[in-house]
């Protein structure tokens, strides 16, 4: 029997099922929608199988084509990568279950194929150990996402898709330029190998590739001036896709930045600027979300804000900061993913995305509303939900070596948290206490859709009430990243 603890399977299994969907789409018709569920169920199994290995060795490396890196592409899963890919698989799984009941528009087989590909690409971005492979994964994700954003083919979806496409492809080009610069400088494409060879480069020589890569990944990762596509694209996409885009895509892109920054670009001067980016992202995201009437747009802006928050924590460049960033990533992925799924079911029932039309849903869709409240609370960072622990950690970390700027940043972060609370509570009170003017027959979402929500909600609740394992795990992961264990481990385990 084949050893399941192989990160490459995380990518290959969904790809296999993608092509299987394409193959069987013509005769299985709507039966293909069950294939993604199987694919991600398998992915979850693989991720779980990887856990003992990763905990034991700190990292699992899988090479391709029978050659050793740097001559072949390798997939390297460290602690955090594993955690994120587990979340990606989980989110993919629940979203594909959700899709069974959610997607009724044609062409279904294309949708499911692209959906599978999207999640596969995101997992790929997380676990790849080769920088050009990262670009390929980036493009797989982007192009799958372009198609999915335009899936509804209405005015808004097309416009959003097009904007996303133009910005995404510019970003892709910049990312490629950055990669090429690194290649020109080092002659190799393996991340660890590059990291070994960039140590003798000047700051300038490292800064430019970094800027290019940062721009490219920043577009996907929703960093402030580069994120203009996001508030358009997330609402336009079907909700399950929004859930993935919001829950995993930003996280994956930021994770990629974090990893590259901590391996290849080993410099400290840049973090101040990253912090400014993060704060701008936070401010614009949260403030804009406050003014939204469209619920998915609001959540999309909130995603920007959350991204700003964990990017800020990352840019502290300390173990604690990174730990906070990772915790917030997990929190954001689960909560925001869940929120989009919940909201999708609500929009289906209400037939509108306007928040005012959601009035009174709290009484009619009890389970959905309950989980929406939990997700919102976790995002706001109210105890005893997981967001509280992560926010606690981030603020503690930010004040660790406090200077005036950091204190000001903390004030801004907390102010923006207040803004976040303002709009989420507005939403909640409309839902629970608003009066519905229109007389629409609203039922609870179907059990299948609720299933996915409940699964995510339960996971969130479990890590909320029993956060110690996650916190400790994240602490180790952060310590490994800061201590550049990625490189040493990769060298030890034959990643090079």
């Amino acid at each position: 029997m084949v050893n399941l603890a192989n990160p490459i399977l995380l990518v290959v299994i969904p790809l296999f099922f993608t092509f299987l969907i394409a193959l069987s789409g013509s005769f299985l018709k709507s039966g293909v929608k069950y294939l993604p569920v199987i694919a991600f169920a398998l992915n979850i199994i693989v991720s779980l199988a990887l856990i003992p290995e990763v905990v034991k060795n700190g990292m699992v490396i899988a090479t391709t084509a029978g050659f050793k890196p740097p001559f072949a592409i390798d997939m390297a899963v460290d602690k955090l990568g594993l955690f994120l890919s587990l979340i990606a698989s989980l989110l993919g799984f629940v979203a594909s279950v959700y899709n069974l009941f959610y997607i009724d528009e044609e062409p279904q087989e294309k949708f499911h194929a692209l959906f599978t590909l999207l999640v596969a690409g995101l997992t790929w971005m997380i676990i790849t150990g080769d920088i050009f492979n990262l670009f390929v994964a980036f493009e797989v994700t982007s192009i799958a996402a372009f198609g999915l954003v335009g899936f509804h083919r209405d005015k808004g979806a097309i416009e959003a898709g097009f904007k996303y496409l133009v910005m995404g492809s510019i970003g892709g080009s910049f990312l490629l330029i950055g990669i090429i610069m690194l290649y020109a400088a080092t002659g190799t494409l393996n991340i660890v190998d590059i990291a070994q060879k960039t140590s003798n480069l000047t700051f300038q020589q490292k800064l430019f590739p970094f800027a290019m890569i940062f721009t490219g990944l920043g577009i996907e990762g929703a960093l402030f001036p580069l994120n203009a596509w996001l508030p358009d694209a997330h609402p336009a996409a079907p909700s399950s896709v929004s859930s993935i885009l919001s829950g995993i895509m930003t996280t994956a892109a930021i994770y990629a930045i974090i990893r590259l920054t901590n391996t290849i670009f080993d410099f400290n001067q840049i973090y101040f600027f990253l912090m400014i980016f993060a704060l701008l992202t936070l401010i614009f995201g949260e403030v804009s979300a406050f003014f939204q009437k469209d619920i998915k747009r609001m959540l999309a802006y909130s995603t920007i804000g959350q991204t700003g928050l964990f990017f800020f924590a990352f840019s502290l460049n300390t173990v604690n900061g990174l730990q906070g960033a990772f915790m917030q990533m997990v929190n954001h992925s689960l909560s925001k993913g869940m929120l989009f799924l919940v909201v999708g079911g609500m929009i289906m029932q209400v037939g509108s995305r306007n928040i005012d039309d959601f009035a009174g849903l709290g009484r009619k869709m009890k389970v959905s509303s309950f989980f929406l409240a939990i997700g919102a609370f976790s995002l706001m960072g109210l105890p005893p939900f997981f967001g509280f622990w992560s926010k606690l950690k981030i603020i503690f970390a930010a004040l660790q070596n406090a200077n005036a700027f950091l204190v000001a940043s903390v004030v801004i972060i907390l102010l923006m948290s207040v803004v976040e609370g303002a709009y989420f509570f507005k939403l909640l009170q409309v839902m629970y206490f608003g009066k519905q003017e229109k007389d629409v027959a609203v039922k609870e979402a179907s059990y299948g859709m609720l299933f996915s929500v409940v699964v995510l909600g339960t996971v969130l609740l479990i890590i909320s009430f029993y956060p110690a394992p996650v916190i400790n795990f994240m602490h180790k992961a952060a310590a490994e990243i800061i201590n550049k264990n990625y490189i040493t481990l990769a060298l030890k385990l034959g990643g090079l």
Binding site: A211, S288, R363, P383, L399, G421, Q429
Partner: protein, 628 residues
């Protein structure tokens, strides 16, 4: 015994969940569960009477231990929380009937709030404290907005201000954590003892903002009038009687658990032999006493009146706690207990009136004394206690605070405190007059007194006002013992009052009440000896020759203190809320303006952002890798 702390903390949460689940079966199951569990909590609280337990570790986070503890001071607040919650649960059964409001999660939220507050008082470290503080904020938010449409706006304001306050605390806690890497109270105290004055001041100020928002000290009080008045009747006493005390408790812990008067005096200048920080807190408290009193006098809404009164009374609590002398602090703590009792009583009594009449607009009511005599009597006791008139409990604690201020010669604060008390006399009279006295409107002719389940909590509290008024020693027992732990000199007290030497004068409430009772009986006997009087209808009245008919509203209740309003017009115009609204609006316009200029919807603009980012990087490289 120590494990009971955790059980105690868990009891209300479990009870809440069970009440929610049980409510699916039948509503009486829900009532039964809620009553049982709130009673259990009360029993568990009594186990800790006069017990000090230090440091039960129940977890650990980020290298800081999570600790539960109890001492007589926290027991005092624990007692307030559990006892009030129990009474409110009972009252709610009568007040919140199934058909009036949908109840499915009401008891769950009520018990959750109780649990959160128990968590706050039992906390032995700041993380636990802060966690339960936040839980308290949002659970009570849901309780507030149970009241319907208007209460939603009030709840919104409440939760936003709570979050702001909580985050202010958060910064301070983070600063402490970073400095000490442990947030256990003892460690925090040691840290502060070895810190610079700036650090201490910042910590106390930031923590204080959080507490002041909860305690509704001006100028952070604006959520309270709306929230307290719009919340459902049984929730208002919880908010007013208990929840805002958490701010006072927090302040006490910070000022005397972390700092001490000596330490504060060492690192900062003193005014009137009070460290300046405490002095500023005292002034804020005094300002809230006076201004809130003025505002309360002008209210037309019974619960709003009581809400402003709460601001004013919590001002006394904070004023007392911030004096820093044994007498003052004891007075402040005692007043916290007393205020919980009489304000809970008043809110419940007003709730009972609302229950029967459906309105809380003072000018719509009147003459109910004939219909609801028991409620009237309870409310009368409540207002006497609130106005600080002997021999009820409010007087004793206020007296202690006055004496403490007088001892320290902080005369301006003392004047303000006195004024607040006299003003209280005005508004409480207005309350009882407009509801119970005067002409009985025709529509309320068939009003009955409230059911027994609602009477019981009201009367328990009413009797408590007398008990704690005549026997202040009962509470002093706990308070003095607890304060010893915090390094205060114990004050001399007896069961009935304070002997000569404790303050600048003596007090023996039992004598006052005894003489009053004798005088009353004597006068009454004289009254009865004289020929009997004959009862006449309320329409048999002097009306300058006119005939008073039931259709005519022959009652002076709207704008009761209108002429006084003219005197304080200029003060009323000073709207703190308006200033807040102005800034919030400005921020909104600002945010909207910039958002519209960033997310224009124009792809060209978006693309140029990307180019600009790259250009900045490129320029940096051209400039030789320098980024600034």
């Amino acid at each position: 015994m120590n494990i009971l702390l955790e059980i105690m903390l868990a009891t209300p949460f479990i009870g809440g969940l069970l009440a929610f689940i049980g409510g699916k079966v039948h509503r009486w199951v829900r009532f039964a569960v809620a009553v049982t569990f709130s009673f259990l909590t009360l029993i568990e609280a009594f186990v800790y009477y006069n017990v000090t337990i230090k440091g039960v570790v129940w977890g650990s986070l980020f290298g800081s231990k999570l600790i539960l503890q109890t001492n007589p001071i926290s027991w005092l607040f624990l007692f307030i929380v559990t006892a009030m919650s129990f009474l409110i649960v009972i009252f709610s059964i009568g007040d919140m009937e199934e058909d009036r409001i949908k109840l499915d999660s009401y008891y769950m939220q009520l018990l959750f709030v109780e649990g959160a507050m128990i968590g706050i008082v039992l906390a032995g470290d700041l993380i636990t404290f802060f966690m339960f503080w936040e839980i308290m904020s949002w659970t009570s938010y849901f309780l507030i907005i149970y009241g319907g449409k208007k209460s939603v706006a009030a709840g919104y304001k409440y939760i936003i201000m709570s979050i702001i306050g909580a985050y202010s605390m958060f910064i301070a806690i983070a600063m402490l954590y970073v400095k000490a890497h442990s947030l256990v109270y003892a460690d925090v105290a040691t840290t502060l003892a070895h810190s610079s004055a700036t650090f201490v001041v910042w910590t106390v100020v930031l923590l204080g903002i959080g507490f002041f928002v909860k305690a509704a000290i001006m100028p952070l009080h604006t959520w309270l009038p709306d929230a307290h008045s719009e919340a459902p009747s049984p929730v208002s006493p919880l908010l007013s009687g208990v929840l805002i005390k958490m701010g006072a408790y927090g302040l006490f812990i910070v000022l005397y658990g972390f700092l001490s008067v000596q330490l504060a005096g060492n690192i900062m200048p003193s005014v009137f032999s009070t460290p300046i920080l405490l002095y500023i807190i005292q002034w804020l408290a005094a300002l809230s006493i006076v201004l809130a009193t003025f505002l309360a006098i002008m209210q037309e809404d019974a619960k709003r009146l009581l809400a402003y009164s709460s601001i004013s009374q919590i001002g006394y609590v904070v004023l007392g706690i911030a004096t820093g002398t044994s007498l003052g602090v004891a007075g402040g703590l005692f007043h916290a207990l007393n205020h919980a009792i009489f304000k809970g009583l008043l809110f419940l009594a007003v709730g009972a009136v609302i229950y029967r009449t459906g309105t809380r607009n003072l000018s719509d009511l009147g003459g109910l004394v004939k219909k609801m005599p028991y409620t009237f009597t309870a409310l009368l006791l409540g207002i006497i206690a609130l106005a600080g008139v002997p021999p009820l409990n409010g007087f004793v604690s206020k007296w202690m605070i006055y004496e403490a201020l007088l001892q320290k010669k902080e005369v301006f604060l003392l004047i303000m405190a006195f004024i607040g008390s006299t003003g209280a006399f005005l508004y409480v009279y207005r309350l009882i007059h407009s509801i119970f006295l005067g002409q009985l409107p025709k529509k309320y002719e068939n009003v009955k007194d409230v059911p027994i389940l609602m009477q019981v909590p009201i009367w328990v509290l009413a009797v408590s006002t007398i008990i704690f008024g005549i026997f202040p020693g009962l509470a002093m027992n706990v308070i003095v013992k607890g304060m010893k732990l915090f390094g205060f000199k114990p004050i001399a007290y007896t069961l009935f009052g304070f002997p000569q030497g404790t303050a600048m004068g003596a007090l023996k409430v039992i004598n006052i009440s005894a003489v009053l009772a004798i005088a009353f009986v004597a006068a009454w006997v004289l009254f009865l000896i004289l020929s009997k009087s004959r009862k006449v209808s309320q329409y048999d009245n002097y009306a300058a020759g006119q005939v008073v008919t039931p259709e005519l509203k022959y009652n002076y209740s709207f704008g009761f203190y209108m002429s006084f309003g003219r005197v304080i017009k200029s003060i009323l115009k000073l709207g703190i809320e308006r200033i807040y609204n102005y800034w919030v609006d400005a921020a909104k316009i600002f945010g909207d303006y910039y958002m519209r200029r960033v997310y224009t919807g124009n792809l060209e603009t978006y693309n140029s952002y990307i180019v600009i980012v790259v250009t900045i990087a490129a320029a940096a490289i051209l400039l030789g890798g320098k980024l600034w």
